[in-house]
Symmetry: D2
Subunit: 345 residues, 4 copies
Amino acid sequence: MTVRFGLLGAGRIGKVHAKAISSNPTAQLVAVADAFEKAATDIAGQYGCDVRSIEQILSATDIDAVVICTPTDTHADLIEQFSRAGKAIFCEKPIDLDVERVKACLKVVDAEGATLMVGFNRRFDPHFMAVHDVIARGEIGTVEMVTIVSRDPGAPPVDYIKRSGGIFRDMTIHDFDMARFLLGEEIDSVTAQASVLVDPAIGAAGDYDSVSVMLSTASGKHATISNSRRATYGYDQRIEVHGSKGAVSAENQRPVSIEVANATGYTRPPLHDFFMTRYTDAYAREISTFVDAVESKSPASPSGLDGLIALALADAALKSVREGRAVKVSEVLGVLADKSVFQGR
Amino acid sequence: MTVRFGLLGAGRIGKVHAKAISSNPTAQLVAVADAFEKAATDIAGQYGCDVRSIEQILSATDIDAVVICTPTDTHADLIEQFSRAGKAIFCEKPIDLDVERVKACLKVVDAEGATLMVGFNRRFDPHFMAVHDVIARGEIGTVEMVTIVSRDPGAPPVDYIKRSGGIFRDMTIHDFDMARFLLGEEIDSVTAQASVLVDPAIGAAGDYDSVSVMLSTASGKHATISNSRRATYGYDQRIEVHGSKGAVSAENQRPVSIEVANATGYTRPPLHDFFMTRYTDAYAREISTFVDAVESKSPASPSGLDGLIALALADAALKSVREGRAVKVSEVLGVLADKSVFQGR
Amino acid sequence: MTVRFGLLGAGRIGKVHAKAISSNPTAQLVAVADAFEKAATDIAGQYGCDVRSIEQILSATDIDAVVICTPTDTHADLIEQFSRAGKAIFCEKPIDLDVERVKACLKVVDAEGATLMVGFNRRFDPHFMAVHDVIARGEIGTVEMVTIVSRDPGAPPVDYIKRSGGIFRDMTIHDFDMARFLLGEEIDSVTAQASVLVDPAIGAAGDYDSVSVMLSTASGKHATISNSRRATYGYDQRIEVHGSKGAVSAENQRPVSIEVANATGYTRPPLHDFFMTRYTDAYAREISTFVDAVESKSPASPSGLDGLIALALADAALKSVREGRAVKVSEVLGVLADKSVFQGR
Amino acid sequence: MTVRFGLLGAGRIGKVHAKAISSNPTAQLVAVADAFEKAATDIAGQYGCDVRSIEQILSATDIDAVVICTPTDTHADLIEQFSRAGKAIFCEKPIDLDVERVKACLKVVDAEGATLMVGFNRRFDPHFMAVHDVIARGEIGTVEMVTIVSRDPGAPPVDYIKRSGGIFRDMTIHDFDMARFLLGEEIDSVTAQASVLVDPAIGAAGDYDSVSVMLSTASGKHATISNSRRATYGYDQRIEVHGSKGAVSAENQRPVSIEVANATGYTRPPLHDFFMTRYTDAYAREISTFVDAVESKSPASPSGLDGLIALALADAALKSVREGRAVKVSEVLGVLADKSVFQGR
């Protein structure tokens, strides 16, 4: 069976998914929608699919699944609409910037029995997956400490930052999800510190550009996250997990791995300078995993619940910075008595 | 303009090129031919092209270029036929196992003004290209010594070895081409030693499985090559160039770059175990370069002359092993008074 | 001029300093004192020096300086006595486990004009010194984030842990000093989380074995510290500093740097398994720096103030764990109106 | 028992051995001799030993062993004299530049039953020893190919080159010994190529500065050696051994292992720039091994025979360059019917 796709949003990340769908032998890109028509026709021309309105995709009988790459404030509504229309849904993170809105949305997904997968692409990076596999095979024993360093080559436009929900909800959210993915236990409390070191305009917009976070689980496992919106040496993406029997780490990736030696020393080139080239393989595997879930009618992962919790961790981090104390996740998220409600299908 | 391709030979390497052509936005796979019909229909089904006979491709008006992936002993004849038919030709190495036959073939190519490119895929590996670029930018000064280590994870079947022309013509030939590519000066003499350490059956077939080669140029530059048909740790492909101002090297590549640490030490996974996964990017760039040459009607590189000289170096190496002495390339190749005759378009 | 030494304490660390003094061309080990006579006579025999009582060393006219390696609870008293006796003093960390006692002691040192250096040996590790030098030369711009990972191969005996003042005062104290050394700005607040993951006996003794710490400065610079009392792969000692123009890191050290490749992968041996082999060079340079300070009658560094502040940071970390909040260093240390009083000569 | 030493020659390498002897707890430096009195008195002053003439050392009853660091052309005579005087002998390589002279000398050593060890210091480098240990434990199976890269930061003075016997006898000789040490089988034939790329003055002195060598054993094992008298990036000393079950390599060493990252890339400092700092540990272990042999009256290794064979390999390499062919070692060395005659005690 081929999964037939509608793509909602033809911007930067929409193009990434259009390419991933087109390269997937069991997926087909049927239609693309975008408020900005030129963006949609470009993708349609490149991959030979229709340009349609969101409404047309909603009612289409030749479309099984949608990929939501529209602006964040439309995600929750679209998820609800497409759940009701019986389509499988892949949605870029975050589902919404408000925890309660996410909860309400996930209840609709649950009621409709829809398949929902949230776009935490890093889980599908082959190197990070290999780290996860090493842990799963028990090679490092019990996980004790996860260390994540994640730095962007440069800050996004301040205009974007204002709409992003801030660094914790926009950038650190990936690291929160990765920490959960690797710890294998829910996070209990969050402590964070944040400052503006890169660009005062970011501070003026009410956000931070340099943050450190400590997470702890009920059993006392630790995770630390270090983020910066500046790294002259490229897109710095490292993960390390220390356990009772050993440790495992994923090294940084560079497009070209050569070394030049001279009187100055031994120099290797900078890292990837962009998340799209860094995570090319991850995006392809992510869509492939979604296609498999749709085909096999099995639950998709990362789920809506994963999206909800990562957002709650971001909110807890921000609260921690503001109040100068460790914040329990339950303070922000509440107690999820029946987690299955939030998990999607 | 889109370059329309006929693929001759639908075996292992034919599939690689079919994929590269299909992924290239300015190339189109129009037809495939193979004596073994199932192989051809498989590719045709996967990429939506015709199955045709070689004769049909030769006379087709909707085909601009061919990729020759048929058995080695058909290469020279096909090159001549397609040159006369006015098609651009990409041919897997080697053109032929006989230097004189190659020369005769290249004279036809020259007379017809055909475009011919020979498949030394490693020139297009991004890491080796970067090494070449570093040299070209003068960063290591004058090249003095090229060191190539190239080891296969395992030996091919003895049956293949018998038809291959031996390790120098089949395996080392890539390293001869790479040495020339990086030295920037023609090789003057070849000294080689060879033995059978991996499998006596290889020796029984009249070939070697472990070889070392030293090359020197007229100005006294050195290159050394180390080959083995066995490497438990994967497909070992390293290049290092030492010059007057510094050195540059390309590191080995592995599919996953993680590191596991425990009481045994720090372990990174083995290398790629297959040339196709190792050189995925190289094959794509290779076809892209050929497409560019066809489109721009500019000479293709590596040329027929590059194929001829690499073969002559292989012959010289074998002669050196047998006679226990340094062999001048001119002994094997003769003196090429007018090189342009052999270079193709 | 040769600096003539008395060594107080002939235990494990005393032996390290005895060797460093003996190897130093401008130092001479004159006498050693230890309550356990066998330990003292062993060192005396090996290096050809006297065994004397602490009182004899205090009144000796042939001794210029002492190295204090006795139990922690004797340090402050000995520093005061030898200050009054006009000897230069090198004291192992910590000066005392009580901030107020340290302050009182340093006031005596100041009043007597004594030279006092505190044993933060890691500042003298050639690799960490090189990191500091890179920062000092401005190569990475303004320091923004210091990341320290420091893990011991195994936990000390619980008996030791009870007397040690806890992991923050015993182990993390080195990292607090290193963070200050590299940040180039005083630390303003400390947040820590701690748990018992390695050995319940450590928890039963009232201590932790796994801790994470975040530090921030007034200008918003960050440092994070990750400590564990267990690392199967050896003595894990890494430092990384991220700045506005780049980053610098010191790699882990291993006694033998070879790599074995096979079907399992590429394996390098474990790290040093002991702080003494890891920091051999650091101990030699540390004593050499002290000798230089004594000879040139210039202030010694790290000073008594450095010892005081590192202890205060440890206290603040413990307070943060207990109270679940960010703790200002000033809460623990008070405000040091006249820092010179605590700095020693 | 303490081994009491006389040091013959107080030059650069003499100083290295003086330090190694003085640091060795079971060795004592009793006397030093040098034609240049200032050099001898400097060492005597530093280590508290006598200055004596060679004749005085020869007849001394308080000296058990000598270290010969005088000019090469005196080595064989001194070995013979001290053999007859009943002293154990450590001699810097080479024993002599003439194979027949070496043979004659070793016959005297054998007749006198003297202990003779030859200074191939690299066998005692901890990293190369570890490579040897990995092979000895069978971890890489049967050794098939040894690859040695050995490059000096810069060329020695031409005046030295003239007296040195040429690059093969002066520099490559270390690599010949290492190849034998790691191959575990005697070398049967030598092929070499050599050129002058670094400095024409070296060519004018009749020597080469850039050489490549291939060695083979009777069973078909390979070794390759690459030497240059120039390396802008430091003292390049790498060894790699490929076997039937895997490979092992020793990495280059640098005094400081940090890495600086910025927009240019990731840069580690250059290598050691001098053989003395690179091989500090090796020199200490070398003397320690000699002391052990003298104390235990067991045969010393590397032996006189090791010195003889390495020299013969150098001669064979030179002959190969001149005659453009593979040279059998037996052509140069003859057949050693009774190897024990040349091995020393």
